[in-house]
Amino acid sequence: MAEVVEVSDVRRSYGDYEAVRGVTFSVARGELFALLGTNGAGKTSTLEVVEGLARPSGGRIRVLGHDPYAGRASVRPRIGVMLQQGGFPADLTVTETAAMWAGTLTAPRPVAEALELVDLTHRAGVTVKQLSGGEKRRLDLALAVLGRPEVLFLDEPTTGLDPESRRNTWALVRTLLDDGVTVLLTTHYLDEAEELADRLAIMHRGRLVRTGTVAEVVASQPATVSFALPPSVPRERLPELAGALVVDDGNRVEVHTDTMQATLTGLLLWARDHDVELRELSARPASLEQAFLAVASSPEERDVEVAA
């Protein structure tokens, strides 16, 4: 069984509110799977049940072949978790915090090594309450990797980090992936997902709306071809183009197309044959951001059905 994490039709409710509404995905060994979504999409709620912090209200979860909630004792020694918020006693130093955590693990790395991995060595003797938000985040990451986990769960690992620390965190995660560690992370940074994810899912209102590689998710969105017509050429003279025509104000024309090559060929041949100069011509494939925004701005479909 190559799937390290298997989540099928998982639901999680808080009272009357269903935060996770039937989520299915799996993560293969050595893969990084990213859960993207707006705030409140249900990413953390999903991650917490996969980590075994709570029992889902429906569905089935397997981590390394075990139920992470009921089989906590078998799963926990093999996973590392970085929660959305640290949870450190404010009056312990960085080293004392890491040493405490190491004392609870079956086969921990040396504390100094873990701090080194996240560049916190120079802050080892400082109490947690004196750390910046980014430093706390890195301490959290140090604890997550302290037990040499096979599977790593990272809930928004780079929120609050400065650009350099983000790069360092990404480099560390990549090193772990190279060592065969499986990673499930949530983020609302699209570049983070593009940078790290083998596969990703976009979550919206408790459901996974798109799942696949970055290329697959982006492929669900049309490419954009845009140009401006000279004033002498009215829009009506444009040929029939594959794709949906979106006309900007004035002479600017935008075409959203799933077949960029065909659209461009048609457009360019027409322009050559009619001797029309297309100004500001550009053709660009869809971006992850576009796919994300398309999902995030979609109306509340099917909510009525859930409430009924």
């Binding site: 906590r72 004792a73 640290g86 949870g87 004392e96 405490m100 004392g103 609870t104």
Partner: protein, 269 residues
């Protein structure tokens, strides 16, 4: 496999307890509560003649009162504050994503306070034996059971009390019902005033208060004196211990049930 997990548990509890001890030492209020408050209370009460007319000789009186106040302040009050502080700082939630079991988290957090409490009781007993004329206990086993059972009971009550304690400041208020009732049991269970002078109705009610079985067992174990004021020998002390032991057992069972039902591991959102 089971052997492996049991050898792992003491190490994990020790890791949490070490961190918790550091936090206790760095928290002046908690340190004062843990080290000074029971002693000051007992010394103050003795100075104003509290318990002079009671049934107990001075040595046993001091040990019993100190054990009572230690369980209330050091174990109960301190631990309500500690559990709530760790919950509100999301420490409990973080500990729960690791290899620790829930019981290990609660035990590790409680351990430093428990050690401080038991040490104080033992030291007080030693001092009482040397200076105040504490005789050899009538039944030492009951004394040990009283202290150990009392510790377990008040750790559980502390954990259960976090359910209605929203933050650390509120612990000062939310612990009052248990504290007041238990101080009542110090007064009405023959420690401070003679058992004969307490109305039966009051005694009937207070025998169910959590601290009462601890005090009954201590008196019985230290001096052979029963809750009714009779003095019994070693053999008979066991049968006299049955009722307080049952009450203690019920509180422990209820405490575990309350813990399972109401204990929250993270702040209310």
């Amino acid at each position: 496999m089971r052997a492996l997990t049991t050898t792992g548990a003491p190490r994990r509890v020790r890791a949490i307890a070490t961190a918790e001890l550091r936090l206790l030492v760095r928290n002046r209020t908690a340190m004062f509560t843990a080290l000074a408050l029971p002693l000051i209370t007992v010394a103050g009460l003795s100075a104003i003649g509290f318990g002079e007319n009671g049934d107990l000789p001075l040595g046993a009186l001091v040990v019993t009162m100190l054990a009572g106040f230690t369980l209330l302040y050091v174990v109960y009050y301190n631990l309500v504050s500690a559990y709530v502080a760790r919950r509100e700082d999301l420490v409990l939630k973080r500990l729960r994503v690791g290899e620790l079991t829930d019981a290990e988290i609660l035990a590790g957090t409680a351990l430093p306070s428990v050690v401080v409490a038991v040490t104080q009781v033992v030291l007080t007993a030693v001092v009482a034996a040397l200076a105040l004329g504490l005789d050899m206990p009538a039944n030492a086993l009951l004394v040990v059971v009283a202290v150990v059972g009392g510790v377990v009971m008040f750790v559980l009550l502390a954990a259960a009390s976090t359910a209605f304690t929203r933050n650390v400041e509120m612990a000062q208020v939310s612990t009052l019902p248990v504290l007041f009732l238990c101080m009542g049991s110090l007064i009405f269970s023959g420690v401070v005033v003679p058992a004969d002078s307490v109305p039966d109705a009051v005694q009937d009610v207070f025998q169910f208060v959590p601290l009462t079985p601890v005090l009954d067992l201590l008196q019985l174990g230290l001096t052979g004196r029963t809750a009714d004021g009779d003095t019994v020998g070693f053999g008979a002390s066991f049968s006299a211990a049955a009722f307080p032991l049952i009450i203690m057992g019920l509180w422990i069972v209820n405490g575990i049930a309350a813990l399972r039902r109401w204990f929250r591991w993270e702040p209310r959102t």
